[in-house]
């Protein structure tokens, strides 16, 4: 921080949004998230704030919160990382993990598992109750 500059009280989070059922192309949206004055603010917390207080249409995946399940892998400022382990910077860019099928926004499934599951669903019949 240079002299005279006030410390910012918000984090600028750029998140790549994409809903394949609606959008033609992914696009970035920028959110302002209050910055913790003390403590440790992970990207999981930043996304939780966006989802709960700004935009409930955001899709992301966080569960164990302690770097055990690797479910929250994403591209963070261009590098792969875990949302639950990475502390935020004042400006941060979050994109979905590479080499995965994007379901929506940051929610992805690995290509291989997705392929197997889709096969099972295809094998199954459609409703006879209609």
């Amino acid at each position: 921080m240079s002299e005279g500059e006030e410390e910012r009280d918000v984090i600028i989070a750029k998140v790549l949004r994409f809903d394949p059922t609606i959008d033609e192309e992914p696009h970035f949206e920028t959110y302002e998230v209050p910055k913790y004055k003390v403590g440790r603010q992970t990207l999981a917390k930043v996304l939780e704030y966006i989802f709960e207080s700004i935009d409930p249409s955001l899709a992301y995946y966080v569960t164990c919160n302690r770097a055990l399940c690797n479910g929250c892998v994403a591209m963070i400022n261009g590098k792969a990382g875990l949302l639950c382990m990475t502390e935020t910077t004042d400006e941060v860019t979050i994109e979905p993990a590479a080499n995965h099928r994007v379901i929506k926004d940051l929610m992805v499934v690995p290509e291989e598992e997705d392929r197997v599951q889709q096969q099972v669903l295809k094998r199954s019949g459609k409703s006879k109750y209609l």
Binding site: D19, T21, I22, Y36, V38, G39, R40, Q41, T42, A44, K45, F51, E52, P56, S57, L58, A59, Y60, Y61, T63, C64, N65, R66, A67, L68, C69, N70, G71, C84, M85, I103, K104, M107, V109, P110, E113, V116, Q117, V120, L121, S124, G125, K126, S127, K128, Y129, L130
Partner: protein, 592 residues
């Protein structure tokens, strides 16, 4: 996307709901018979990407030492035996365990541990632990991790078998029945937002606890008692739902560490606790041991301060190192293998530095484990033919208090039992016809939050429910709180849940919608807990009644069985199942 559209139908012999320790084990055992098809669904994106097992990375399996020695070749204390393990579990469970379930656990834990080894699970045979309550060092770890390693082993087996299939992102909604029997289940494919009907002769519920009924959890936040809620609606019986384990390990201030702090920063006896008035309140519970008491007493001590208005600034209690010279703290750090860095890489050094300077941190109770749950027999059978359950979603085996290491062991023993029994049942029964009206009824309630144009925000309602549950059905209860909790659950079901509304209308991976469904489930669980706890007018293990603070062995060595009857939660007492240890008599001040 047409919300009213068709849905896929998957046909199988055994459907397993929840695929972590208990569910995966059940699926592996059920699919050992290659004529039996098994589908195992999880609302996580994959096995070990939701639930409590994955967070049990450095948890232990409790396995009696004789078996550890004979079967695994581990150099253990051979004075231990299934009988000694049995005695510890029943004594520490405060004599309300179902002793038939305990018998099964202590006798089958070692063969299951051996079986896991034959599948490629690696045990750490060099270190054994005896946490409080275990007479002998019978707790054993997996070599790299426990829970996650176990899930990897199970996933490999399930993926290699042609008759078994794991399906991720499937949120189970409701069970389907045909007459008195189970006929399958309806799930929501989270990726598309469409319903999937699973037709099956047998369903095994292995959905774990309902930790997320409370504001702080030691697991993932998705433990919302989905299995409890659907089993309750289908008419399943519940066993001792009043016993829920809490631990004052949630770091609520400073914010952001997110995980339970206890194992990483806090050494028992190293820190002192204060309430908001600066009083070292645990002295009132045990003047000699003070903070160094068992987990149930700690959680009850902390909950009492919060309930009686003596909380810390952010609603918990203060924990401090200030009485210790900073070089002593440094030395403690040096004695630890990784210093103040957790096994998964969390760096607690900034926190320790802050505490060395004299600042306290604030802790609150997190919900750790559910001793109560669906009522089963040793084969995992419920009162509904074809419906099985295994693992933490089941009640009875731990009684009023669970010993460390008992959870993963419960999962492997009960998972195997339920898998074997369901597989055999599926083979000798034909698949019942699914009742389309039940599917339509499920569809009607599940899609309603998407259809409404206004109403209650699911996340806001969730926060209100968890805060209420914490203050009314936490570790400390009384008659008035429980009556209020029953009334609040009824009000929520009548007034709030029918108005849940999602701003986001697209059903594909709609998290707001997931929260709406899950919030309805935790409300259902709260109702069962409150009804089960109300008639238990004594304090025992994890259930502390401030209006009845004694442990009353003359009147309350009983099992509480809860069940939905004509839309109401009915509760009855049953005798505790006793095989070899006769409970004591008399009334004593808590902890008995």
């Amino acid at each position: 996307m047409n919300n009213k559209g068709g849905y896929s139908i998957c046909t199988t012999d055994v459907l397993v709901i929840g695929v972590e320790a208990a569910g995966a084990y059940a699926a592996v055992k059920a699919s050992e018979d290659e004529d039996v098809d098994v589908i195992a669904i999880t609302k996580g994106s994959d096995i070990a990407r939701a639930g409590a097992t994955v967070t049990a990375s450095h948890s232990t399996f409790a396995v009696e030492c004789q078996g550890l020695h004979d079967l695994l070749g581990a150099p253990t204390d051979t004075r231990d035996s299934p009988e000694a393990f049995f005695e510890d579990m029943v004594k520490e469970g405060k004599y309300v365990n179902d002793q038939m379930l305990v018998e099964s656990l202590v006798r089958e834990c070692a063969p299951r541990a051996k079986e896991m080894e034959s599948w490629g699970f690696q045990w750490d045979k060099t270190q054994f632990y005896a946490s409080p309550g275990h007479t002998y060092q019978r707790e054993i770890f997996g070599l790299d991790t426990s829970g996650p390693q176990m899930c990897r082993v199970m996933k490999r087996i399930l993926e290699s078998r042609p008759n078994s299939q794991i399906m991720g992102n499937m949120l189970a909604l409701d069970l389907l029945t045909s007459g008195d029997e189970i006929a399958g289940a309806v799930a929501l494919d989270l990726l598309t937002g469409e319903l999937v009907v699973f037709e099956a002769q047998c369903v095994i519920i292995a959905t774990g606890g309902a930790q997320a009924l409370y504001p702080y959890v030691s697991t993932g936040r998705e433990m919302t008692g989905d299995g409890h809620a659907m089993a309750y609606r289908a008419g399943a019986e519940f066993h001792d739902m009043e016993y829920i384990q809490f631990i004052p390990g949630e770091l609520i201030w400073p914010p952001g560490w997110m995980v339970g702090v206890q194992p990483f920063v806090m050494f028992d006896g190293l820190y002192w606790w204060y309430n908001g008035l600066g009083d070292r309140f645990m002295r009132r519970w045990d003047p000699m041991r003070i903070e160094d008491v068992t987990r149930d007493i700690r959680s009850i001590g902390v909950a009492t301060e919060v309930l009686e208005g003596r909380a810390s600034e952010h609603g918990g209690i203060y924990a401090s190192f200030a009485h210790l010279p900073s070089d002593v703290v440094d030395n403690v750090g040096r004695t630890r293998r990784r210093g103040w860095i957790s096994s998964s890489g969390f760096d607690y050094n900034p926190l320790v530095e802050m505490m060395k300077e004299g600042t306290a941190i604030e802790l609150a109770n997190y919900c750790h484990f559910w001793m109560g749950g669906i009522k089963i027999n040793v084969d995992g059978e419920t009162n509904i033919p074809g419906l099985y359950a295994s693992g933490e979603c089941c009640g009875g085996v731990h009684g009023a208090n669970r010993l460390s290491g008992g959870a993963l062991t419960q999962c492997i023993v009960q998972g195997a039992r339920a898998g074997i029994a369901a597989s055999a049942h599926a083979k000798k029964t034909s698949r019942p016809e699914v009742d389309s009206e039940q599917v339509e009824a499920c569809r009607a309630w599940v899609y309603r939050p998407l259809e409404r144009e206004g109403g209650t925000n699911p996340m806001e309602l969730r926060d209100k429910v968890t805060e209420f549950a914490d203050s009314h059905t936490g570790p400390v209860r009384d008659h008035e709180m429980l009556e209020e909790a029953i009334a609040e659950a009824e009000r929520l079901k009548k007034v709030e849940l029918p108005h849940l509304y999602c701003k986001t209308k697209n059903p594909a991976y709609n998290l707001e919608w997931v929260h709406a469904i899950q919030t309805a489930n935790i409300v259902q669980v709260m109702e069962i807990v409150a009804h089960s706890a109300l008639p238990v007018r004594n304090s025992r293990g994890a259930h502390y009644r401030r209006d009845y603070p004694d442990t009353d062995n003359d009147n309350f060595i009983k099992s509480v069985v809860a069940k939905q009857v004509e839309g109401r939660c009915e509760v009855r007492f049953e005798p505790v199942k006793i095989t070899s240890i006769t409970p004591p008599k008399g009334r004593r001040p808590y902890p008995g």
